[in-house]
């Protein structure tokens, strides 16, 4: 009997749903066993279980494609509402595979840095155990469909992510970790409050059952007006809590200091995956639980916040003095793109918007993981990451620069990158009436091309003191470029995948029609009308490099100095605890008004 025949019942047969719980159990088991093995064993255990998890995720995706419909599994044999069910649909399968793949790659990249001989026992044990914890929490978020089960999963994620921020143990990192923890806890409490009210309103926590009750298909007929508005208010509470955890601007107070000080692989995981976990839950709440969200004004509130994040995040990235902080602010801008989903999905041609948001998750996860690992590489090589003192670093590390540019072009949206697909699909979802959103998309693309140009200009400019390149503290090995290179290439070439592959996203969500949308977007890249969107980023980068070099670092700073200082001052105020707290409540009320009027 062949292996395929043995695996048949799971991959294409009646037992496919039995793959779901192991996807959660493997990371939990590994996280529990890692401290028992000690710092040395933890690393091998983590890498081994990650590979196993990747295989499981791929198997689950294959089983899902074979089944053609979402898989559900009632744990313990207890069906909802009494029991807790797990479910797998297209978007969840995508996230499972993406998470396992990125964690495997980052894990392999970090295997040299986080070992007992290099990082010490404390950091080694904590890093690998917490990495497994992050994985467990994320998989729980993807598979869960019970609101309280999702709460516990998100707490697993938070409790693992917070100590990752302060692995280095400096004052700045500890303070960032504390702010992150407390802000995330306020978010969890708001989320939990919404879940509790949902239980009181419907007697169930299962997302599918609540959605059915709200849509009028519940056992007791249709939902009354009070139940409907109560449910929407509960969703608003949960949504606000999740916004705090996603670090959507202006609720981003913890993210820049956290990324500024965390070890590069931890930053990569936090930025590529952790903040996406809570976004994925927002996706579920507003698209799966709330019937007809397009009839509400919620898209306007969330979309405005997203546009604000795109513009302010990119501008702040352009002005950062440190490479890692530049990358961190770029994350804040890229998170904004996710939230354009909510206004655009509500429009008449909104189908591709959901595909665009999911592709943005993938594309950003790949490109940003690469960029953080590369920023860490630059920091190790020169002993710091201050851009002003990195002039000419491209001469010392040419291949590193090439990979940075590849990842940057994927972020800026050069075809056939994932970023290009995102902008193209969002653009077609926006249609002619959504010119405002399209304008934000274009501006965002130009600004991200501009900060990429700034890095390039720094890299080729002569170093301070007239030498060709800054002093190398330590020449990094070429092997360290393998993982960032793979990640960057994957992000850049995402659009070249056979369009049929994107049909995975549509399992359980036929309205997305992802395969056709992606094929259309790629055709558009070659058509005459797509000229600007396909070459715009490259042209901008080329022009901006010339400008940056001509102006020189100091002149550039003088020119934007006053404006930049003002903007940075405003942004700094937004990151004050009290201001962020008040904004959290204001956003809560704004959403409530949008939904209930």
């Amino acid at each position: 009997m062949t292996l395929a025949a043995v695996l048949e019942p799971w991959l294409a047969g009646p037992r496919a749903a039995e793959l779901l719980f192991p996807l959660l159990a493997v990371p939990v088991l590994a996280a529990l066993l890692a401290p028992l093995l000690g710092a040395r064993g933890a690393r091998l255990l983590a890498l081994g279980s990650l590979l196993l998890g990747l295989a499981l995720a791929l198997a689950a995706a294959a089983a899902l494609l074979a089944a053609g419909a979402p898989l559900t599994y009632a744990l313990g044999g207890w069906a909802a509402p009494l029991g807790v069910e797990l479910a797998l649909d297209g978007p969840a399968a995508l996230m499972l595979v993406l998470t396992a793949a990125v964690l495997v790659l980052v894990g392999l990249h970090a295997a040299g840095e986080f070992r007992v001989g290099a990082a010490g026992r404390r950091v080694t044990l904590a890093f690998w155990t917490l990495l497994l914890g992050v994985w467990a929490g994320l998989n729980g978020l993807y598979l869960g469909r019970d609101l309280f089960n999702l709460y516990v999963a998100i707490e697993v994620l938070t409790f693992s992510a917070v100590p990752l921020v302060c692995l280095k143990g400096g004052a700045a990192q500890l303070e960032a970790a504390f702010r992150y923890l407390l802000f995330a806890l306020l978010g969890s409490a708001l989320y939990l409050l919404g879940a509790g009210l949902m239980l009181g309103l419907h007697g169930t926590l299962d997302i599918g059952q609540i959605a059915a009750a709200l849509a009028g298909g519940g056992a007791d007929g249709s939902a009354t007006g009070a139940v409907r508005s109560g449910s929407l208010a509960a969703v608003v509470l949960m949504s606000t809590g999740l916004l705090a955890k996603t670090a959507l601007m202006p609720l981003h107070l913890w993210l820049p200091p956290a990324h500024g000080g965390a070890p590069a692989p931890a930053s990569a995981v936090l930025s590529a995956l952790v903040v996406k976990g809570s976004f994925f839950l927002l996706f579920r709440l507003w698209l799966d639980l709330v019937p007809d969200p397009g009839a509400l004004h919620i898209g306007l509130v969330l979309g405005t916040l997203g546009a604000f994040a795109i513009l302010l995040g990119n501008l702040m990235a352009l002005m950062q003095a440190r490479l890692k902080l530049l990358v961190a602010y770029s994350t804040l801008a890229q998170l904004g793109y996710l939230f354009l989903l909510f206004p655009l999905a509500a429009g008449p041609g909104g189908g591709p918007a959901a595909t665009a948001a999911l592709l943005q998750v993938v594309s950003h996860a790949l490109a940003k993981a690469a960029l953080f690992l590369l920023a860490g590489r630059v920091q190790v090589a020169f002993g710091h990451d201050r851009l002003a003192e990195l002039g000419g670093f491209g001469r010392a590390l040419p291949m590193t620069l090439v990979v940075i540019v590849l990842a940057g072009l994927a972020l800026a949206g050069l075809p056939p990158s994932g970023g290009y697909l995102v902008k193209s699909l969002y653009g077609s979802a926006a249609g002619a009436e959504g010119w405002g959103w399209r304008l934000v998309l274009d501006l965002g693309g130009l600004l991200s091309a501009a900060y990429l140009a700034r890095i390039l200009a720094v890299a080729v400019r002569p170093a301070a003191g007239g030498t060709a390149a800054p002093h190398l503290a330590e020449r990094p090995g070429g092997f360290g470029l393998l993982v960032p290179g793979l990640l960057a290439l994957a992000a850049l070439l995402l659009g070249l995948l056979p369009p049929g592959w994107f049909a995975l996203l549509d399992v359980g969500r036929a309205e997305m029609a992802s395969a056709a949308a992606v094929a259309g977007a790629m055709r558009g890249a070659l058509a005459a009308g797509g000229f600007w969107s396909s070459t715009g980023p490259v042209l901008t980068v080329a022009l901006a490099v010339v400008l940056f070099i001509a102006a020189g670092q100091s002149a550039w700073q003088r020119r934007v100095g006053a404006l930049g200082r003002g903007l940075a001052g405003v942004e700094g105020r937004l990151r004050e605890w009290r201001v962020a707290g008040a904004l959290l409540l204001a956003i809560l009320l704004a959403q409530a008004l949008a939904v209930l009027t």
């Binding site: 039995e18 719980f21 996280a31 401290p35 009632a74 007697g203 009070a226």
Partner: protein, 313 residues
């Protein structure tokens, strides 16, 4: 009987709200924390009034170590504000926003549907399959087993995260957040007399939890409080974090739970299901391991990250 049972509830509500306002307004951190401990006791009484005895026991058992944790923190952190006081416009603004949230929640609470949807009948119907007479225990260990499992993982990860906060040089050492130079003789007396009683009550809470209010959380929290008392009185010391035995104790509960849950797919046709003949002994095994792990985790969380002995001048 009182003429109207709500006469007993109103003073409790007023006391809670007044105490909460005082807690955030009072100047000294330490008074606020002592007030918070008293607040926790009132909340425990409220849970009794709400008919939720399992929650009342958890609240009371956790409240004690929570107070200890916060008091030790206040002693180490000093009592200084870490910024200028908020300006009046900000206070008014935040006050209005918080008031709006409260008002909205009040409307939500008062418009919950009638008759209230509930799972009482569903739990009662299926409970016999779990061999447990306490419905809350049945929810925790059978119907929502996965939540309980993930929550034990949260506790274990919290301990690892807490340990990782310590200094590099102190790794492998023992936690010292509860250390004091010379414990009060009265405390030492208390730490000699109370733990035996606490142990008996803890085991009773664990054992009775299958059929009556109580269970691994409550028992574990009480045992952890006793252990913390012993450590505080320096009659014993927390184990060093390098100790494998401690780590096994910490992880045993979730590990046993998870392994039995995984085996369920073979033995009982579903993950996290129990084979009929073995339901009672398996649940007992899970709860025993869980009690131990909850006690270890909570005690370690109070004891803090590993630290070097303080240098004596």
């Amino acid at each position: 009987m009182l003429p109207d049972p709500r006469l007993a509830d109103l003073p409790l509500v007023v006391a809670l709200l007044a105490l909460a306002l005082w807690l955030i307004a009072t100047r000294h951190d330490r008074s606020a924390i002592i007030g918070f401990t008293a607040y926790g006791l009132i909340v425990a009484i409220v849970w009794v009034r709400l008919g939720a005895l399992d929650v009342a026991l958890t609240e009371a058992a956790l409240g004690g170590i929570m107070g200890l944790l916060l008091l030790m923190a206040a002693a180490r952190l000093g009592d200084a504000p870490d910024g200028p006081p908020p300006t009046w416009p900000l206070r008014v603004l935040v006050g209005l926003l918080c008031g709006a949230v409260t008002a909205g929640l009040a409307v939500l609470v008062l418009t919950l549907p009638e008759p209230a949807p509930n799972l009482v009948a569903a739990v009662a119907e299926q409970q016999s399959a779990t061999a447990l007479k306490n419905p809350v225990a049945a929810v925790l260990v059978a119907f929502r087993a996965v939540d309980t499992l993930l929550e034990s993982a949260v506790l274990a990860l919290a301990v690892i995260g807490l340990w990782s906060v310590g200094a590099d040089a102190a790794w492998g050492e023992r936690p010292r957040a509860l250390d004091s130079d010379a414990p009060d003789p009265a405390l030492v007396l208390l730490a000699r007399l109370l733990p035996p009683v606490g142990l008996v009550v803890g085991v009773h809470l664990f054992w009775t939890g299958a059929d009556h209010p109580g269970g691994p959380f409550q028992a574990g929290a009480l045992l952890a409080a006793m252990v913390a008392l012993v450590w505080l009185a320096r009659l014993g010391a927390p184990p060093p974090v390098r100790s494998r035995l401690t780590r096994v104790g910490l992880m045993l509960g979730p590990l046993v739970f998870l392994l039995i849950g995984l085996a369920g797919v073979v033995a009982a046709d579903a993950y996290l299901a129990y084979p009929e003949a073995l339901t009672k002994p398996l649940i007992l095994l899970i709860e025993a391991a869980k009690t131990l792990s909850v006690a270890v985790a909570l005690a370690l969380l109070v004891a803090g990250p590993p630290a070097l002995p303080r240098a004596r001048p």
